[in-house]
């Protein structure tokens, strides 16, 4: 273990990226994410990587995908308005199955909103922001240390599943400072994409493979192939054959949904005999923890399910945890984007929403009030 130090969530994110092997950052300044770009501008050239400030967020994510196809682990970081601009190319990364990490330090929207105020308003945009059906992975950390850990994990998942991965950090976590002890870089487990081992003339960048994730060759490594945002066949060439289009779409969903048990991470606290379950994520989960501590001191049977992975949605876990409960509380800094998903699974159990969309944090008292309400 390295020495403990005070660190900000955004710094931990950048440090996690470098520890995971990120060697390219392309982005555009935007509050409250800019600390990540500044850290990368300073640190990447020291480790042989490249930082570039692009002309806008569209170019940022485009450069990231280009760099990743060149074999570099690559990342961009932004906030709401920039995240909106990136959506088309995030879809391109999903379509072409190019690993990359997009960090969105969520601020209050819509539009310019309140740039320095926290929010969790982009949860559904992370899921469905780009046009067309496509799977996505999105993670959401609740602490500075976890921001480091989940950024490492975001890279590992993107490399393993050949997919864009989104890290949804809320502004509270991004700008919060905590004492953390980061693991030494040699103790960080970094996963690299599978590269082809067959001769170039046999290589199929979108072929079938046992785990539905075909190997990815880097440009310039002797495998010459085609990458396109058009629907493509196993060789990467455009196709409009129905027997190629749909199987491809089914495969990219299968590779993510079929591994939901591996991808979805969560923590539970006292859910076994709880009458009331709080489902929370990000900084709100910290308020929920405190609310639960107070409620237990009043002998209430309450438990916490904290989601670290938001997409793919951990449907099975929600179902299991909520089975014995009478009531589920979902506090969020939005108008119920995860609550909708929970309601879908909770059946006839009462789901109570606790929402804030005024740019202020949710307090433990608000969650306690929801527990006490009839």
């Amino acid at each position: 273990m390295a020495a403990p130090r005070m660190m900000q969530g955004n710094e931990a994110c950048a440090a996690g990226a470098i520890a995971a092997g990120c060697r390219f950052f392309g982005g555009y300044p935007i509050t409250p994410s800019t600390d990540i770009a500044e850290y990368m501008a300073r640190e990447l050239p020291r480790v042989g990587g490249v930082f570039i400030q692009m002309e806008d967020e569209i170019a940022g994510i485009a450069a990231v995908i280009g760099a990743s196809l060149g074999g570099a682990k690559a990342m961009t970081a932004t906030s709401g308005p920039g995240f909106s601009l990136m959506q088309e190319n995030i879809g391109y990364a999903a379509m072409t199955e190019v690993p990359c990490v997009i960090v969105n330090v969520m601020r209050l929207g819509p539009s310019t909103g309140r740039p320095t105020s926290p929010s969790q308003g982009d949860v559904m945009q992370a899921r469905w922001g780009s046009h067309g059906d496509h799977p996505i992975i999105a993670l959401s950390p609740a602490s500075v240390l976890e921001t480091f850990e989940l950024t490492v994990r975001a890279f590992n998942l993107s490399e393993r599943y050949r997919t864009p991965v989104i890290v949804l950090v809320d502004e509270v976590v991004g700008h919060m400072r905590e004492k953390v002890t980061l693991p030494r870089s040699e103790d960080v487990k970094a996963i690299d994409r599978i590269r082809p081992s067959e001769p170039p003339e046999w290589y199929k960048p979108y072929g079938s493979s046992p785990n539905d994730v075909p190997p990815l060759a880097s440009f310039g490594s002797g495998y010459r192939y085609h990458v396109t945002g058009l629907h493509h066949d196993s060789a990467g060439f455009p196709t409009d054959r129905v027997d190629e289009v749909e199987p491809w779409a089914r495969r990219i969903f299968r590779k993510i949904k079929g591994s939901v048990n591996h991808i979805a991470q969560y923590e539970t606290d006292g859910v076994e005999d709880a009458r009331t379950i709080v489902v929370a994520y990000g900084s709100v989960a910290r308020a929920a923890s405190e609310a639960i501590r107070v409620a237990r001191s009043r002998r209430r049977k309450v438990g916490l399910l904290r989601l670290k992975t938001l997409w793919p949605f951990p449907t099975r876990v929600i179902g299991q945890v909520c089975r014995e409960a009478r009531r589920v509380i979902v506090p969020e800094m939005n108008l119920g984007q995860i609550a909708i998903e929970v309601e879908r699974i909770a059946g006839d159990r009462k789901v109570r929403r606790v929402n804030r969309i005024d740019g202020e944090m949710i307090t433990p008292q608000q969650i306690l009030d929801a527990m006490e309400a009839k």
């Binding site: 060697r23 390219f24 392309g26 990447l44 050239p45 020291r46 480790v47 042989g48 990587g49 490249v50 570039i52 692009m54 002309e55 806008d56 569209i58 170019a59 940022g60 485009a62 450069a63 990231v64 995908i65 280009g66 760099a67 990743s68 196809l69 060149g70 074999g71 570099a72 690559a74 088309e88 190319n89 391109y92 590269r195 082809p196 170039p200 880097s218 440009f219 310039g220 490594s221 002797g222 495998y223 010459r224 192939y225 085609h226 990458v227 396109t228 945002g229 058009l230 066949d233 060789a235 060439f237 455009p238």
Partner: protein
């Protein structure tokens, strides 16, 4: 077949890719031929050469060519190429775009790529119209000409591609037409040899939309126009402004290699920061299998 003789054939993809999508008589294939011959003359290693495009008729070009090829999103080809170039400074990268792709939706990326002087060879096939979507106004459609979205005549002035490129900082800027295929080939070659941002404007015919909407005839008539209406830069210098009205001036408009390209400057940053050795190791590790 050996490279160097009957060269185009050796650089095309033979599995599944033909016939191509372009209309009979389209000029885009001529530009593709010029690029292939330029690559062949320089004996660039196809494994270390990438062709990147955006969206549109011209952007369908890479799929036919046996290199590392990327067909990206509309207008963003240069931004994708910038990322690849910085991750792999050892690669030769050609970016092919249409006029709408490069200068309307991609205009911002275009001026910034030129400003950075990043080592990319960009070829803009300028047919002065949106061909793939059926003949809408482009940023290079001449004043008063017709498009399906300018049925009463265009009131937007056309972007002068060469002036724009020079002002934005490109290292090499040239223009020719699809009638002058050998000249195009020479300019693409110079672009590839130039360490910095190169722009080659290739005026091309879209008789299917632009020609039809403006009564310019078919492919043959439009090609004849490129032959008859165009003059070299040298000849143009002797003419008065009014005599140049309606003429197409061909030639090299700018060639300045005194400014360092972006990858070279970033390399110096890595040296300053102490990471140059690690950068070498990283790039070496991505080398051939």
């Amino acid at each position: 077949m050996k490279r160097g003789e009957h060269s185009a054939y050796a650089y095309l993809r033979h599995s599944k890719r033909f016939p191509h999508v372009w209309c009979p008589g389209c000029g885009i294939g001529i530009v593709m031929g010029a690029i292939i011959r330029a690559v062949d003359q320089l004996q660039l290693d196809p494994d270390h050469t990438a062709i990147i495009s955006g969206i549109g008729c011209t952007s369908r070009m890479p799929v036919y060519m046996d290199f590392n090829t990327m067909h990206t999103t509309h207008g963003r080809a240069l931004a994708f190429a910038t990322g690849l170039k910085l991750a792999r400074p050892d690669m030769h990268i050609i970016v092919v775009m249409g006029d709408g792709d490069a200068l309307a939706i991609g205009g911002n990326h275009f001026i910034h790529a030129a400003r950075r002087n990043i080592d990319l060879t960009s070829v803009i096939v300028n047919n002065q119209i949106y061909g793939m979507t059926g003949g809408q106004l482009s940023p290079t459609t001449p004043f008063e000409m017709r498009a399906t979205t300018a049925p009463y005549g265009n009131i937007d002035p056309a972007f002068p591609i060469t002036d724009l490129s020079i002002a934005a900082g490109a290292a090499f800027v040239a223009r020719s037409t699809v009638y002058h295929s050998q000249e195009l080939e020479k300019y693409v070659r110079t672009g590839l040899e130039t360490r910095g941002f190169a722009v080659i404007e290739a005026l091309s015919n879209c008789h299917t939309t632009y020609g039809r909407l403006n009564n310019l005839g078919g492919a043959v008539e439009m090609m004849r126009h490129f032959k008859q209406a165009s003059i070299t830069r040298k000849a143009a210098e002797k003419l008065a402004a009014e005599e140049l009205e309606g003429r197409i001036v061909r030639g090299v408009f700018h060639h300045d290699i005194s400014r360092k390209d972006y990858s070279t400057l970033y390399r110096e940053i890595q040296e300053k920061a102490g990471g140059a050795e690690l950068a070498n190791e990283r790039i070496d590790s991505m080398e051939m299998v």
